[in-house]
Symmetry: C2
Subunit: 311 residues, 2 copies
């Protein structure tokens, strides 16, 4: 089992079960808000961030049980960012994963507040889970993710992305890199580093995870930009060709499609080289050398997946 798509399919039920446990029941008051939160979270997202936490944690010797809540917290935060990005005042998207966006299905006020509630629950879940982690690990998880998604991280990337739509900045190449490093890369990087926190990684390991996370984020975003050009609304589950129509600052928009594909391949090779250096760790790694090398295979497959995915 060294294929990332198979891994995603295998872990998905336990990720969804964890999300179901952590989110308030739709029958709880205020019902409409809780329904809306669940509508957004259970909308067919690929669960790449929780899967990254599970995959990295496994590589570092941790079982899935310790990682599911943290992974779910990142998925809630990812979902909040999509809900707010889709709002009329921001990207004004009607379609997300093939269904009406939250503000189209409910209303704008509910979408704003459901996003707020998902962000709040995501950060506080990191403070409360997993119970087997130390207080310092849980405190540090909130710090790590808070930095990644704050005004100098994910939100900052979104702000600059919106600004670049109005007018491309002078140094467009540097701006493009800076936008995506924060808008997508920071949370993906936090996903692999979060596993490192739970595993008690050293500073050197954390540095390696940070570098790897940044490359994964870059691959993810170049891939996303390419898909907006070559994909169809049907396979994407969202409106295709929107970037070009909005004159958004993207890789294909700036470098052209072929050069973007070449950049993606180059990043793929860098990530692959880095992943091979990830240390196997803990008794599990020593005892189960076969599985450990399998997890390197999974990382390579993940990297391949990110560079070839079609939605």
């Amino acid at each position: 089992m060294s294929d990332f798509k198979t891994f995603l399919a295998e872990v998905r039920p336990s990720i969804d079960a964890a999300l179901d446990r952590l989110l308030p029941a739709a029958s709880q008051s205020p019902q409409r808000l809780h329904e809306a939160m669940r509508y957004a979270v259970f909308a067919g997202g690929k669960r790449i961030r929780p899967a990254l936490v599970l995959l990295t944690g496994a590589r570092l010797g941790l079982g899935h049980e310790m990682l599911l809540a943290g992974g779910s917290a990142l998925e809630m935060i990812h979902t909040y960012s999509l809900v707010h990005d889709d709002l009329p005042a921001l990207d004004n998207d009607d379609l997300r994963r093939g269904r009406p966006t939250l503000h189209r299905r409910y209303d704008e006020a509910t979408a704003i507040l459901a996003g707020d509630a998902l962000l709040t629950l995501g950060l506080s879940t990191l403070a409360t889970h997993p119970p087997t982690a130390t207080a310092e690990q849980r405190r540090r998880a909130v710090e790590l993710v808070g930095e990644a998604i704050g005004s100098r991280g994910m939100i900052g990337g979104q702000v600059d992305d919106l600004a670049a739509e109005a007018e491309w900045p002078d140094d467009a190449a540097a701006a493009l890199e800076a936008i995506h490093r924060r808008k997508t890369g920071e949370l993906l990087t936090a996903s692999v580093r979060l596993a490192g926190i739970y595993a008690g990684s050293s500073a050197a390991e954390d540095e390696l995870l940070t570098e790897l996370g940044a490359l994964l984020g870059l691959m993810f975003q170049i891939g996303d930009d390419i898909l907006d050009v070559v994909g169809t609304s049907g396979t994407l589950g969202k409106t295709a060709g929107k970037d070009a129509a909005a004159r958004k600052l993207t890789y294909p928009g700036l470098y052209g499609l072929e050069e973007s594909k070449r950049l993606l391949g180059e990043t793929h090779d860098q990530a692959q080289a880095l992943a091979a250096r990830l240390p196997g760790k803990g008794p599990a790694a020593a005892e189960r050398a076969g599985e450990a090398s399998d997890r390197v295979g999974l990382f390579l497959s993940l990297i391949h997946y990110l560079s070839t995915r079609d939605h």
Copy 2:
């Protein structure tokens, strides 16, 4: 110095200095976002929540230095809730504290994202500060505040408030109480309980603080509703008479003005009785009995302030 207004004036500069230290500089990228966050935070708010943290903490034997970051975090979170509540899709307010609301001064996208960033920074500040608190105290602070402001707390209150505007619920009295307990009361309660966490309060003390916080929240909200009827836009710094115009579920709207004032007085007496039972604690309290009794006086003055304030 046992007058709460004097206390507010005295502690305000150190609260504002702490907020200034904790918020990203307006010169940092993305500048427009950081300017917007500061515009909202430095808009002449009364700083009641940080003052409550300082006042309660002092009563429990803690110096201000340990409490300023936590108090500032609550002020950021309070500010985020105002920024999002003012949005066109929610309360659609043009004026806040005598100035244009954030989305009127900047734009809607900036207001949504600046609110998100203030919420994120508020929660993560609780995880990182104060450095003198234990990891468990900081972790517990995120948990406490996350619960208070989540979908079952502050956000839930806001959702039900909006719903009640469209149609008053069957049991309007119970709904009114439930809305305000969550919309305003939870964060005020968290303010006094946060001080308890840093002071290492016992479960019994925490229970007393929780009860007191709930009464303070109730007084605050009844007072707010009364002010919307008897105040003017000039003294309030926001549009007066908006509640009645929007047929909002309020205390004067449901009970009439005189009965609302009587309820406020009744709550005042309950809070006063409870505040007198607050234990002085730690060496500071024993050694400085004079100051400790002064702090009881301050609590009584706070309670008086909440029941007689004019803006």
